[in-house]
């Protein structure tokens, strides 16, 4: 699993203000929902972030799957983000019925660190993980249709969640 900046990150973060308050102000002022990315807390679904989940449509049952989640600043202002935990992103796979099959951090403890990152306009972050097509108990999953989910945990309580992608295991 790795984090790759889409381009050079912004300069040293401007941390004269509490991060959470600054992000709430930005979210409140933007009041836009971008297709493909829901930035949510429990109350709102707005945000200046675009996110794309990249997954091949098909994969062989004996193969492996690379999942990518890209977070883009689609606003005209720099965004100060808090990336929650190490890693800050999560991927999961579920059957069409919604039954969970695999989670990227299943059974692991997550370091409770908060990373501060500034995204300039059009700047992006990419998060990648490889799924070896096994369930949480390590068993190969059967062929069929699945839904892949990806999201980034931002400074609490915000989460940037991409539209799920359909995957066929042949």
């Amino acid at each position: 699993m790795q984090i790759q900046p889409g381009s050079r990150s912004g300069s040293s973060p401007l941390w004269q203000l509490n991060l959470t308050a600054l992000f709430v102000i930005i979210i409140a002022m933007s009041n836009l929902t971008f297709e493909g990315c829901m930035v949510t807390d429990k109350k709102a679904s707005t945000g200046p972030l675009g996110c794309t989940l990249s997954v091949p449509r098909n994969v062989k049952a004996d193969g492996a799957l690379t999942i990518r989640l890209t977070l883009v600043n689609e606003s005209t202002s720099a965004l100060d983000l808090g990336l929650q935990g190490n890693p800050p992103f999560r991927f999961s796979v579920a059957k069409e019925s919604g039954e969970s099959v695999w989670e990227s951090t299943y059974g692991e403890a997550i370091q409770q660190i908060l990373e501060l990152r500034t995204l300039a306009p059009s700047d992006s972050l990419m998060f990648t993980s490889t799924w070896n097509l096994t369930d949480n108990q390590g068993r190969r999953v059967p062929s069929g249709s699945y839904m892949v989910h990806g999201w980034v945990e931002l400074d609490p309580p915000f989460t940037a969640r991409a539209d799920p992608a359909r995957l066929t295991i042949e």
């Binding site: 699993m1 990150s9 040293s12 973060p13 941390w15 004269q16 509490n18 991060l19 808090g82 929650q84 935990g85 190490n86 890693p87 800050p88 999560r90 989670e103 990227s104 951090t105 299943y106 059974g107 692991e108 403890a109 997550i110 370091q111 409770q112 660190i113 908060l114 990373e115 501060l116 990152r117 945990e153 400074d155 609490p156």
Partner: protein, 429 residues
């Protein structure tokens, strides 16, 4: 329309307005939403002068003698305190001309009997000996525009007689003076603010070798081989394992102004033996930073203290005193943690000596403990402790928090015996 009909219509209109006013139903005062402010709304002076709110109420009383105060009730009415109720309309008019009322709405106007004009109360208040009011034990003084009294909040009952004497000396009658018990007012600080002296539970900020900034929590102050410093997580340093001379700031880096320490100990992780193949292992996720940074600035420290907040709160109420190390940690033990993101959370130890895979890194933590309690990112480094005596806020230190479940309803911590062993005989109180 002829003149007599027009006159009649005007008379009717005036009568309707008068009836509407006296019944408290003046349409231009009715609001669709009742304000939920139970006390007088503080609106800006219309002229932008430096007058205080009390100055302006006194000005209304100068215009309308016997006006004793005004406030908004819980049901959204404007209640006027009047010595002479017949002057209420004039008082309301004076209020509207003195204050900028464009954002103030009230559903009705009501009148209550008062004993004193507000200007009279203010005159007495201004005349009282300030030396008395500045004494320890006097928390606040107020001209109460609802109860039509001079109100004094005291935290020390023994000074009441002196304060009463000071008010009597300027002619304040007994029924114009009221006392109430009050707690001293403290400036509100949170675990995320810059706080001095530093203690366990406060936010710390640091940068990795790539220049990326991170937030964690200062675990606890300690002396390591005689050197004063603090313990936080190994992963809350430039690299997990090994010393990279990470500089720490509290609460946030601002040049060197907030710099508090320098990483000086972070034992390397080992491979082989009981450590799974491909992983690096340790028994504690702990690192030590000396305080202050050798190049300054100096830092005030509260050795042996952890910031104290209410459960799920970040607001600092005081400090806990660390009595010692809690070794061992038992299954079922009730512990707390205090961290910069979720404040204080409480739960029971539900697993001990658990070998744990860590997400995102090739690290494997040996013999850790878990607690069912609230945690979130930024809480890494939080002190985990048991309350020994709640009455005097004394605690014993169980260890240092480093991880959480993905939900997150469970946190992982390294126990004090292992922290002590790997960082070498810490003194914590």
């Amino acid at each position: 329309m002829n003149r007599s009909l027009l006159s009649a219509l005007c008379a009717v209109l005036v009568a309707v307005m008068a009836v509407g006013y006296l019944s408290g139903c003046a349409d231009d005062h009715r609001s669709d939403g009742i304000t939920d402010v139970p006390e007088v709304l503080k609106s800006a002076p219309a002229s932008g002068s430096a007058m205080t709110f009390d100055d302006m109420l006194a000005a209304v009383a100068k215009q309308v003698p016997g006006f004793g105060g005004a406030y908004l009730t819980e049901d959204g009415a404007l209640e006027l305190v009047m010595v002479d109720a017949s002057k209420a309309p004039a008082a309301e008019s004076a209020i509207r001309s003195t204050f900028d009322m464009q954002n103030v709405e009230y559903s009705a106007v009501r009148v209550r009997q008062g004993n004193y004009g507000f200007d009279q109360l203010k005159g007495w208040s201004d005349a009282v000996d300030r030396n008395i009011l500045g004494r320890d034990g006097v928390v606040f003084t107020d001209i109460d525009e609802r109860d039509n009294t001079l109100r004094v909040g005291i935290s020390d009952p023994s000074i009441r007689k002196d304060v009463e004497a000071a008010y009597r000396a300027v002619g304040v009658p007994a029924n114009a003076l009221a006392f109430e018990a009050a707690e001293p007012v403290r400036q509100v600080a949170t675990l995320q603010n810059t706080v001095r002296p530093i203690a366990g539970g406060l936010q710390i900020h640091w940068f990795n070798p790539a220049g990326q900034g991170f937030l964690c929590t200062l675990g606890f102050l300690a002396r390591r081989q005689g050197v004063l410093g603090f313990v936080t997580n190994s992963h809350c340093s430039g690299l997990q394992g090994g010393v990279q001379n990470t500089q720490y700031h509290q609460s946030i880096a601002a040049g060197i102004a907030n710099r508090i320490g320098l990483e000086t100990a972070d034992p390397n992780y080992f491979v082989g033996g009981i450590c799974p193949a491909g992983k690096r292992c340790r028994y504690s996720d702990a690192a030590f930073a000396r305080v202050p940074h050798p190049a300054g600035p100096g830092v005030a420290t509260a050795f042996g203290r952890i910031e104290r907040t209410a459960v799920n709160s970040l607001i600092i109420l005081g400090t806990h005193t660390i009595l010692g190390k809690q070794i061992p940690t038992f299954l079922g033990e009730l512990v707390q943690k205090t961290g910069r993101t979720t404040g204080t959370s409480v739960g029971r130890v539900n697993r001990t000596c658990v070998n744990t895979a860590v997400a995102g890194v090739n690290v494997y933590m040996l013999c850790q403990a878990t607690v069912v309690a609230n945690v979130n990112s930024g809480d890494s480094g939080s002190p985990v402790y048991r309350v020994v005596n709640p009455g005097v806020f004394s605690v014993a230190l169980n260890g240092i928090l480093w991880g959480g479940s993905s939900n997150p309803t469970t946190f992982w911590f390294s126990t004090m015996d292992r922290v002590d062993q790997e960082l070498t005989n810490l003194t914590i109180n």
